[in-house]
Amino acid sequence: MGIVLAALALAVAAGCGGGQSSSGPVTLNWYIFPEFSGAFVKSAAACSQASNGAYQIKIQTLPNAADGQRQQMVRRLAADDSSLDILGLDVTWTPEFAEAGWITPWPQDLAQKIQNGTLQTMLDTATWNGKLYSAPFNTNTQLLWYRKDLVPNPPKTWKQMISMATELSKQGKPHYIEIQGAQYEGYTVWFNTLVASAGGQIVSDDGQKVTLNQSAVQALDTIHQLANSPAVDPSIGNQMEDQTRLQFEAGRAAFELNYPYVYPSAKADVPDIFKNMAWTVYPTVKEGVPTHVTIGGIDLAVGAFSQHKQQAFDAIQCLRSPQNEIRNAVLGGLPPVLESVYSDPKFQKAYPMWQAIFTTLKQASVRPKTPAYQSVSLQISYTLSPPTSVSAKDLGTLKSRIQDAIDSKGLVP
């Protein structure tokens, strides 16, 4: 009680004090996932320094898992917490936070600055109802990793990949195709990639209606074919990113669909496998139609209850400056959102697979944009689990469950 009163007294005193000059720089709380390389700490310090005493960025570390990050921010925002100035949002959260009135849209003039030179797909994730609500900060996407010693020419389509793996299994060689099939977000990412690459979309642009059609049948067929072929890892139903990485490093797989972090990891863990490790773009579902891999990453938004919105907008622009984006990529392994950075030699050296990533990002797809995304994703991974029992017959159930989720009807699994 005493502390609360003292804090109140201080707040009142500060309020009466008036001008910024007397109270020093304002503190901006930046809620962001734990970044272990220290890249964010450096950016925060550099930006605070460059603000000439206008603000001081203080990093507030969120939990490791995405669900935990979202829950912590949501619980604070539901209580109108004014201490959330800058929020690190996963690419799928902007519609939800915007619709609930928890984040502030970017003013027209600043929005234009953000939109200039930023990857279009990332801007798409940051936009809701035609307004830019957050600023893309970093991105990520999956590539196809394969073993040069087993696969001289990488496959172009899923069909080719499955038949190559089947052939390898007949020869008794490592042959698994490692993909994320556990009942979680990563499985939804896979399904979204397949649907988009078959030319479809899970939910309409306005986020109101489920739009699964023939392309979804092709996606379900692809899962079915893989899950019932010798190419499949028997534990596909439990595989997340890290399990697939470990299977590849253990030498049991010929193919792996995963994020670029697997490359430095293999380099450190298993030099023998690493020397035969190669990458290419994700295989297509339809021959001749380019693949649209699901985009990932973080967007930065300004909290709706923040007392320092102007400073927060300024700080975000600084945090995503080219220098900071390059540092995040080189130190932290986070692919940048500014197109210009991809031609920077420093970045290209740190990211030997930059060309494949850039190509993939230019034609990447976005996960369903709806405030109810969490429920939609849970319904998808729940309905399609385990992958071994997936077939085109699941489409009806899937459609009705996704529509229920959009309408926030029923229970979430």
Binding site: E99, S235, N238, A372, Q374, S408
Partner: protein, 315 residues
């Protein structure tokens, strides 16, 4: 439960009993004092327990999704219909919860009784035995659950390898439920034993000796003498554990996060509230869980004649 006890105590003190001699001035003053003394407790209760319960009931009749604040509206019992007609989620979770409750409480009762008798009869190192038995109950549930989780995960644990070299028991429904029950039993058997030990000390030694003289076997002495005398203690122990087990959350949250259909009703409710942010459906589910626990308590008290806390006042 607790609320009921307070209310009972209140009426017992407040109304007095008919047929007794008229209330004296002194008794009336004492009664007033009693009211004054429990007033702060009642006020705190109202603030921290009654208000949230009433608010949850109020929310449960609304469409209230934090993600769609604009479409908040009064929808009557729709949330309840949604939940009660959901066989693949609600009734599935309900079944798992009942299964975990029944099996774990049954095992705990048998084991707890054995442990209680050992503690009761121990001649040497009584203090050490009692302390050792209580250790699992003293460990934080989440910490214990994590050590179980690691133990049963292939690669990090020593237990998964016992089944087969590639076994991942936490990824299969029935094996995972068995592990959840094991973790519950390991954790709360000491609690059960402690409550039963209190009951055991109620059994008069003379009674057992008299039975022995009459030629009763050890089993007969246990079943015909000890158990009937201990019955109130056993019922209270069972009541507490059943209520606790029905609300199981932390072990499942750590061990499986409710995957592979190992959700309890509390886990399912947590998902509605904190993942889906659906306060309406989540509150309705909380009310249903509350009703289920109330029903369990009622069944024990009325059906088996367990003593409700606070009933002593009326004796």
């Amino acid at each position: 439960m607790r609320l009921g006890a307070v209310a009972d105590a209140g009426t017992a003190v407040g109304t007095g009993r008919p047929g007794r001699r008229p209330i004296t001035e002194r008794a009336r003053a004492e009664r007033r004092l009693a009211w004054l003394l429990c007033a702060p407790a009642v006020a705190v209760m109202a603030l921290v327990a009654i208000y949230p319960i009433v608010y949850a009931i109020y929310l449960s009749f609304q469409r209230y999704d934090l993600r769609f604040p604009d479409s908040k509206s009064w929808i009557g019992v729709d949330n309840y219909t949604t939940i009660l007609s959901s066989t693949d989620l609600w009734w599935q979770a309900f079944g798992v919860t009942v299964l975990i409750t029944v099996v774990s409480v049954a095992i705990e009762l048998v084991l707890g009784m054995a442990v209680a008798i050992v503690m009761h009869r121990a001649i040497f190192g009584r203090g050490i035995i009692r302390t050792a038995v209580l250790v699992p109950y003293g460990i934080v549930t989440v910490a214990a659950a994590f050590s179980w989780q690691y133990a049963w995960t292939p690669g990090t644990g020593y237990l998964a390898g016992l089944l087969s070299s590639t076994a991942a028991p936490l990824t299969h429904q029935w094996q995972a439920i068995a592990i959840i029950i094991l973790a519950e039993v390991w954790k709360t058997t000491p609690f059960m034993a402690l409550l039963l030990l209190a009951g055991l000390s109620l059994v008069p030694e003379e009674l057992l000796r008299a039975a022995k003289v009459d030629g009763a076997t050890a089993w007969q002495r246990f079943w015909r003498v000890m158990v009937p005398v201990m019955k109130p203690a056993i019922l209270v122990a069972l009541l507490f554990r059943t209520l606790d087990a029905f609300r199981i959350f932390d072990n499942i949250y750590v061990l499986t996060q409710g995957s592979q259909n190992t959700r309890s009703v509390s886990i399912l409710d947590y998902d509605q509230l904190f993942t889906a942010l659906n306060l309406g459906v989540g509150s309705a589910m909380s009310v249903l869980i509350f009703l289920a626990t109330a029903l369990i308590a009622f069944a024990y008290i009325k059906g088996f004649g367990a003593a409700a806390p606070g009933q002593e006042l009326e004796r």
